[in-house]
Assembly symmetry: C2
Homo-oligomer: 81 residues x 2
């Protein structure tokens, strides 16, 4: 693995001591989080810059502006109130 490849890493800071970051969530827990949220929504980070990872904190906006990228979160909503 060349130095050049390492510089391409998507995740520069989050849990770098972990070999592969897989976040497992039970849908029942997500349901409860949606219920607790005013907008009935839970957003998950996909830019690996969020300070609240695995949840989105909007960091993708600054990243996209800086690099011209177009990444954004996975947004889970709950229809029935």
């Amino acid at each position: 693995m060349s130095a050049d490849n390492t510089s391409q890493q998507i995740n520069k800071t989050i849990r770098k001591d972990v070999e592969k970051i897989v976040d497992k969530c039970d849908i029942e827990d997500i349901c409860a989080q949606c219920d607790a949220a005013s907008n009935k929504t839970v957003s998950y980070c996909r830019c690996w810059k969020s300070k609240k990872f695995p949840f989105c904190d909007g960091s993708h906006n600054a990243w996209n502006k800086e690099t011209g990228d177009n990444v954004g979160p996975l947004v889970i909503t709950k229809k029935q109130a």
Copy 2:
């Protein structure tokens, strides 16, 4: 935005015509997908390399091997059978 910044983009290929890729999913639909899956699980891509984006297809493994990164999917599971 310098050429160097553009080379840092996380997403090199997916829907590059879209300004910001936000995937919105209803939890009810995810529930149905979990039910339909043999392992009661739905995995969402966070490495932006999946051919089945927004779903994971395991592409993060080759990426991690190539770059020494440690990214992986968001895995949603359903407890009650």
